[in-house]
Symmetry: C2
Subunit: 228 residues, 2 copies
Amino acid sequence: MRVVAAGKRRGEPLSRDRIVEAAIDLLDAEGEGGLTFRALARRLATGPGAIYWHVTDKDELLSAATDAVVATTMTADAGGTTPREAVRAVALGVFDAIDAHPWVGSHLARDPWRSPVLRVFEHLGRQVQALGVPDAALFTAASSLLNYILGVGGQNAANSRGIRPDTNRVEFLTTVATAWDTLDPEEYAFTRTVAGRLREHDDREEFLAGIDLILAGITARLGTPRLP
Amino acid sequence: MRVVAAGKRRGEPLSRDRIVEAAIDLLDAEGEGGLTFRALARRLATGPGAIYWHVTDKDELLSAATDAVVATTMTADAGGTTPREAVRAVALGVFDAIDAHPWVGSHLARDPWRSPVLRVFEHLGRQVQALGVPDAALFTAASSLLNYILGVGGQNAANSRGIRPDTNRVEFLTTVATAWDTLDPEEYAFTRTVAGRLREHDDREEFLAGIDLILAGITARLGTPRLP
DNA sequence: ACACAGACTGGAACGTCGTTCCAGAGATGT
DNA sequence: ACATCTCTGGAACGACGTTCCAGTCTGTGT
């Protein structure tokens, strides 16, 4: 049993919550590779062994950290609005969480059907249901939205991985876009034509446009269950 | 300069291609954690140092391995069919590659705008263009498809990570589905209603259904550029 | 024929990581 | 007071990515 009123051995007593919080700080500050049991121990003024009493694994610690971050975005149940706006709100919540903590994007997809991804799925599904999608298409619609969100999340994580914290986002995009301009004009004809869009696009709006696209597909099917 | 006609020191001479091939074998056999410079050296009957002469990094080796796998799926240029079928063909190619080599799913998203993901993007974009999508919506449509594909790929990789090679796929799904049945009936109302779908669904068909959904969204917009 | 130069090898070694182990400190029950 | 349990933190283990380097091989110039 844990002690309710904390006796103070050295500082505050170690606890799972304190460890997870420190892990999040470390990941935010140092990136994905910055989370180390030794660095964590240093930050908590203890040894690695003490951490293992509260946490079984590094995987479990990472899952707990991502859970903690995503859980905060799933609190408000954007009610009263239209289903479309509710879907956008849920999706944006996940997007913003990944934007603020890029490492979340990489590890969201590690445990697919575990919380809190499952909670996202649940929220999306309810709104899809509210759109009037027939039962037979519910699973497809909700998981398509989820897969798209997870895909963008992974991309954002990958993008921010290659960027030094001081580098500007715009610089990065122009770098990629100019790299596209040097591609073979025949082999990469399409890519070159949209290089300009890449340079000037806004990640958040582009993400939302994709959500709208899928929503348009879902609602377009409401009358015609199968495409020709 | 490399020697053209191989002198045989010990066995065949080491080469970047042989190393990448061995890395793919190792990843397929042992999973993502199985790729080790020591294991690779053992399999190639050499030492770790020799490998580093042909490959700069473990990251580079992983990228080369994923490139080699995905490149084989991008060879045939499914011509003569409708744009819709061509998009499905490209998407299925990536899906099947990830299905055969699950580790690819995890590392496809690491370098977003690098080959061969860029080649997939190019192929998707051309077909989207052929659908008659206006220029302003091309980038959004193509990258939505790509993000969805990468999202599903990541999920598949994550799923196969938790499965022992002997475990059946059906067993796994029933395990997850029955786990869903024990969820809180109120908090996870939607998830529980689609648990049956999860149990009986086919990954490949579900993936294709998602592609169709996005395509439906793309074509639905051809007349109405903005949704209300 | 013979040495020299560069390409290429492979094993040893370094530092770091995740994880385990355990001697002990602090609190609690009797 | 003692015994017991919870909890700590530093040492130690094995494996990893990577570097180093003495050495081997092979083609070339003489």
